[in-house]
Amino acid sequence: MTVTGWLFDAYATEHGATVWLIDVDGRRHRLRYPFRPAFYMNLTKDEERFLHSVRGRLPGEVALRRVSKRQLYSRAAVEVLEVSVQNPLLFQRTVHALSKHFNFYKFYGADIKAMQLFYYTTRLFPLAYGEYETEGETLTRWTLLDEPGSDRYDVPDLTVMTMTPSMKLFAPKYQRSLEIEIAVDGVTRVLQQSDPLELLQQVDHYLRRYDPDILLTEYGDASLLPLLASLAQQHRFPLALNRDPEAPYITTKPVSYFSYGSIKHRDGVFELAGRWHLDKENSFIMGEADLEGLYDLSRLSQIGVQHQARTSIGSALSSMQIAWAYRNDVLVPYKRPVKEAFKSFATLLKADRGGLHFMPPKGYHEEVAELDFASMYPSLMRNHNISSETIDCVCCPDAKHRVPELGYRLCEKHTGFIPATLEPILRKRAKYKQMKKNAPTEELRRKYDRMQTGLKWILVTCFGYLGFKKSRMGRIEAHESVNAFAREGLLRAKEIAEAEGFTLVHAIVDCVWLKKEGAVRADYERLAERIGAEVGVRISLEGIYRWILFPASKMDDDIPTATRYVGVYDTGEMKVRGLEVRRRDTTKYVKRMQNEMLAVLARGRSIAEVRALVPDALGVVRSFAEELRRGSVSPFDLVVRRHISKDPYEYANRSVNAVVSQALAEAGVQLSAGESVEYIITDASGKRDPQKAKPLALYALDDGYDAAKYTEMLCDAAETLLGPFGWTKERIREMLDPVTVKRPAGRAAARRAAKERQLSLVLR
């Protein structure tokens, strides 16, 4: 029989893989596919004999055969042993058992998930459209009428059932009892948990009646599904969460981990078989790019949709690189065997530098233009063939093409795997941007925008992954090279602009801010064209600002910061980066005030006009501060959100984070490091109320709030915008409350003391 339709879901079973298809008439087919995941080993004769001798003691039965493959770095052909595991569920355990006897560099492709190997070796991908041949319940062959990189494709009509906690104010973990809201086919129902068995029956009823393809939840991973599954187990109730009654759930435990200097937390995973469970609260990419972007990414990365939704965005790129290796018969290293090459101190100093940036002159500026390089880092990797295996390659000892400043050679004979994987993404994204521009309807425009956003995130990660210590195919020298080219590119852009009479106001990594008396749009566009041609990366005029503000650093009033600014374009549109309104840790109330102030200041078309609007902006601060003092602000607008860096009882101090997380722990809420807490400050000093702050979940209206502390936050945010006009936060506070405010001994004195301490160290 031939099934014409889409590949919907695939997962490993002990006999191979189970594959779900949806045909063009909307029928769902469950099929088996005989699949044996394999890894490779490069062994000596003795080692091979040894392998044969332990073969019988491995967790699963394996088949051995000699095959010819290529090495990634040397490109040399090599004969290796293919070890295919008969039961895919035992793949990891087999590798683990063998890794006790052999060094890790003997293995290839051994830490890839069995299901990923299924996609790589069959070259199928999620939502692939094609003609699938079946014999009974077995999938035998297929002809794909679709490819992962295609930018025009159809998606089957999928039924969605949403399942959310009906009390949305806090995450379910803060709630004692749980009400679930189910919406399907335009009808919403609230299910109560008074009797667990009844709840299970109701959920099961809807699952069986509507048999949804997608179960879309909020907090499904962290709370809802684990809870339902454990209730079902307690009551021995056959709950139809999975569409495949024979398959188990795919679950992982929550983890806290350390990344880029802070503790992060990731919820556990609860994936289903034959049905997708997508949790909006546990998916970065759905927040950025919605379902369309997720499908698009999944097709391109060959990672199952449920898994792609939860995994970090870097895995998509990793997966595309591994897929490239399998397509080209290249061995994928196990546990990143390429360590950093030995370097002299001098080279290390030169090599270990990031992107180039300048310091903007503090304060307000007018008639400044911004020029941005488009996808600068990926474009550089493609243009200069920068890849893990192209740097100082064995095939081009006399390469002319070298990395500026560092002198690394770049391969001139073969395209590296990184440029090869980036090319289709760059092309596809350019296409989506084009389609977005030409979209006839607003709905289509948004759709293409979401799809290009999904791809943007791959491009953003492609550079970092080169330097990431756990990335299998990354290499630090490639990472350094991209930075070196980028620094050179930005510097050239600056030189060209200056030679043409423009003044450099500011520049960060891939954008420059320029100024020239009397210059108009066309002048900047001409300049962009020239820079683009000379640097080899497209650069375009982002816009011309009526005014732009680079505020002073919060740590030191005398110096500016490179990445915080706000400006108003000549179109009236505003661009804000790094200010309080954009920060996640700012309370809603402060954000609202700063937004209103910005709306006032945006009316000014020049610095002189902005200055004339300062009294109006101060009026906004005053009205917000008065409302605070009257006690009439809604506490929900005063919620502070912070990540906790430790488990509640690991704190040695009485900081607000500590008291709040401990209060929650006492109330029975389990929190671990890296999760966020939400609270309202009741007494920041801790003098009146040693509790300092109340967690949102335990807050009662008569707990009140610390008006003085919140006023301080308002003044801080106001200073950011008005500081250049002489309105420091001390002066603003004095204006608000001339009687009770003490003279500003605080910060200036503290700064001086700190500087004195530093000084005494230097002079000693």
């Binding site: 300048f358 310091m359 005398d558 000084l759």
Partner: protein, 61 residues
Amino acid sequence: MRKEDQGVLDDLFTYAKLNLPAIAVQAHPVPFESILLSMLLEQQKQIRSLTDKLRDYGEAI
């Protein structure tokens, strides 16, 4: 060091901070040279701007 001098020294280090990105890109093994040059640079900028102002002032009267 006298208290009135400490503030002046603070100013010098502020001048260095204004050139931090350049100092970082320079990546000199002993960054103090770059720090001193930054202080000189900022001072020279001030001398120039003051000289210009004085000249304008002289021409005006």
